[in-house]
Amino acid sequence: MKSLCRALLCVTLCGLAGASFGQDVRLPERTRVVLDNGVTLVLAEKHEVPLIGVEAVLEGGAITDPGSQAGLSALLAGLLEKGAGTRDAAAFAEAVAAVGGTLSAGADLEAITVSGEFMSRDADLMVELLADMLQRPALAEDEFDKLKNRAAEFIRAAKDSNLGALVPLYGRALLFGQHAYGRPVSGSEASLAAIRHADVQRHYEAQLGADRLVIAVAGDFDTAAMQAKLTDAFAGWRAAAQPLHEVPPPAPLTGRRVLLVDKPGATQTYFWLGNVGVAVTYPQRAELDIANTVFGGRFTSILNNALRIESGLTYGAFSSLSRHAAPGSLAIYSFTETASTMAAVDMALDLLGAFRTSGIDAAQVTSAKNYILGQFAPRLETAAQLAGAFAELEQYGLGTDYIDGYGPAVAAAEAASINAVIAEVYPVPADLAIVLLGDAEKMRDAAAGYGPVVEMPITEPRFKAPAAEPAVAGQRSK
């Protein structure tokens, strides 16, 4: 009785109010400067705790790796940490750790990124180390050899202990084929073996330079002083030797391709179902985020509700979008006991089909809006998060409205336009790249039911299927 009374009252008030939170999330005041050599600086003060976050983004990344040398940018990024300026690898690591700082470099598809966090008293050291790392890296051959060998061993270790992390690599290789988005950012055992020390040195000269660089800092500092420090440290850097090339949009897949990765003895099957999605500049981002929140982006999503909550087939089922300069993947991912492989994959396919045809209703729209808006503010809470956000805006040439206008755009989205976006972006179940990783012996027949199958053992030193058959257009196997 009490809860009924309360619920009714709540409905009344919510009906009057609608979702008001999350719409006023705004980026803080920032200073933006472009140096003569092209380096872009973005600075924002935040004094809650004595920390400074920094994010330096160099456009380029894994898409600039030669096709046979996937992992080249990732190796170069790793090597930036292994000694720079007057410090060798050990001294550089010691300098960062001695003051309790962090400074690490990594590659993703379209950038090499250096992220760091230092206590505010160590701002000078932070700028010195960052400048050394980008402009004066040692790129020592012995460190290169160690790093390269370890990178390959990490892939083998993941094949023993972290299968879930590998499935999207197989999936994107299958979906994108020869397109740059199909390459594993960290390389494969085979592509790493093809990289020589001289390749990394050449790649550094060609792809890293002032014209590619954005440095975003946020936190407990004085803007004028920090701007002077960064200008001093970076104004003299040269440009990258090569111009940045644009990535053509990948072609969406028609028909099905199935890759069966054999891991003998595995007791569950990991599966990935994907096709080409959207770019980071997709105009109806708010509508799409609402759609994916409902379909596979939260605990009560359609996918997780059916595969986990109602059937107990899995610990989790998700859908996610990778958004880059050109359209990345839109994929469903889950895992289930080997014997229930077909039940779970069939269920995911049915849900995808139903989602496209039925769309979502008003209650789901309201709930998803509230969820997105309610979870928005904590994503821009710390100095390091703000630095990352500013750097991303610069990298993709997005205005601050990308963040400041997001809340209002989510609040304003309507069911009809969301459903139109679903029909436009989500693939039909007949057009999918499908990866099944598990004990092939026990699910070979099931796999064949989904389309033309290519099989490879997990010990194969690459993620790309040996001879991916061309997809059969319009094939419907279920």
Binding site: M1, K2, S3, R6, L9, L16, A17, A19, S20, G22, E48, V49, L51, A90, A93, E94, V96, A97, A98, V99, G100, T102, E117, M119, N149, R150, E153, R156, A157, K159, D160, S161, G164, A266, T267, Q268, R298, F299, T300, N305, R308, I309, E310, G312, L313, Y315, F335, E337, S367, N370, Y371, G374, Q375, A377, P378, L380, E381, T382, A383, T459
Partner: protein, 554 residues
Amino acid sequence: MALFAELRRRNVLKVALLYVVASWLILWFVRNTSGALGLPAWADTFVMLLLAIGFPVALIFAWVYEITPAGLRKAVDVDQTQSIVYKTGQKLNAAVAVLLVLGVLALFGERLMPKFEFLVPGVPEGDPPAGTAAPADIRSLTLANGLKVIVWPDHDIPNVVFYNFVRAGSRNEYPGITGLAHFFEHMMFNSTENLPPGEFDRRMEAAGGSNNAYTSNDLTVYMDWFPKTALETIVALEADRLQNLSFEPDVIESERGVVASERRTRVDNSRIGQLVEQMYATAFIAHPYQFPTIGWASDIAAWTRADLTAFYRTYYAPNNCTVVFTGDVTPAEVFALAEEYFAPIPRQPAPPAVRTVEPPQLGPRRLLLEVAAQTPLLHMAFHGGAAADPQTEPLNLLLSILVDGDSSRLHRALVEDAGIAISVAGWQDEGFDPGLVYFYATLPAGGDPAAVEAALLAELERVVAGDVTEAELAKAKNIRLAGYWRDLATIDGKAAALGEYEVLKGGYEQLFTLPDRLEQITLADLAAAAERIFDPAGMTVGVLAPPASEAPDR
């Protein structure tokens, strides 16, 4: 029709309308003041019941009696020509109008005012922190049922974080019910007597909130992250599942499948997960820390509904929980909600103490897992202290020197210099009882576990011998201090840290003395901790490698 006309004539319909409007106002008032006045949570239900009983009484009264210039008379006795029912009706109309206006004003007032707070004596203000190190705006309150509520306001973002630390973990299990504490973590998201399965999450997400939970050897911890507008919804949902969880057989079976899937992911299909599980089962022979938190597969398949209900009654009691709120709230509003929703949950007898003390280990233990794998693993563990042990912090600094980052001793020795491992890491358990200090290395394909073991032991002997430098100690302190500030940069980190110190480390105030305590730690403290912990007789070494016939050539 004649009856209806007579009902109208005698103003019975108007009285009914007036009664309904007045009841609505009374209920609104009770609901908005019960927290502030310290009324029990059932007060508004009780008032509603009284009003419902009164309704027919009022109508019968209106039918039977009539107001006359001479006072109240039975309607049948009143001379119709002298009746003033018309005038009475006008007064009733006016009363309805006035009450309606009041009601609308009250609703708008509630909507427009930031928060309707009654400054009435009896609203608990909570206790300020002890000592001077903690921020002065933190407040804590222990309810009559034993539930402690801690609030740390932070208005940086319009969001709130809620943590509930339940003192139940695999430490509280025994053979046959291993994994039950973790299974409970899953069940707590299912149905209650008031809500069907899935409704807890649907309501929370629809209000803009998200949640998660984890189970350790010692604790089950529930976390909600939400906009401040959802505060009451979240408190109501959390209080509901703390007292009204239901155990429907089909839901139990479905959740059993989910947990089995989780076990396959974390343990059975992860070589690292398999070795860690067997290490704990080997290092502990008596204490329940030997049980895997996720549970043995046979127990996951076999525990019963009766096991679940007994566990719920015992451990999900307010006196066995501590809740923390951080973010855009005031202690007053949190405490008012806590009194309303959490205070009615009955206290339970204290859970049975974990009596078993792990006996001293009298020599090194070894285990070998021979399974298909490309990269061998070498794990090494020693018996450590409990979270509240004074050596926990010196040992944290020592571990930082050994395994934190590329400049750490073990990384340099095993990964960079000797190249016999591709990664090395470590941790110490911080629980109610003494846990393990744990190192784990992953080897390259074809690597030699014996070489890694020897190199690791040699490094530990060095720190026992006391060769840590002042520079290394200063570095470890800086890393710890930066991590401390990083934790306190988010309302989530604040809630996690407050609860951890409150439940495991002698009180939340201790969190804020950490910077000072760090300053006082010396090299001698590190050497003493190393000597006590890194005792070869208390060592457990685990190797995972492919059978000799399948090992690749180097």
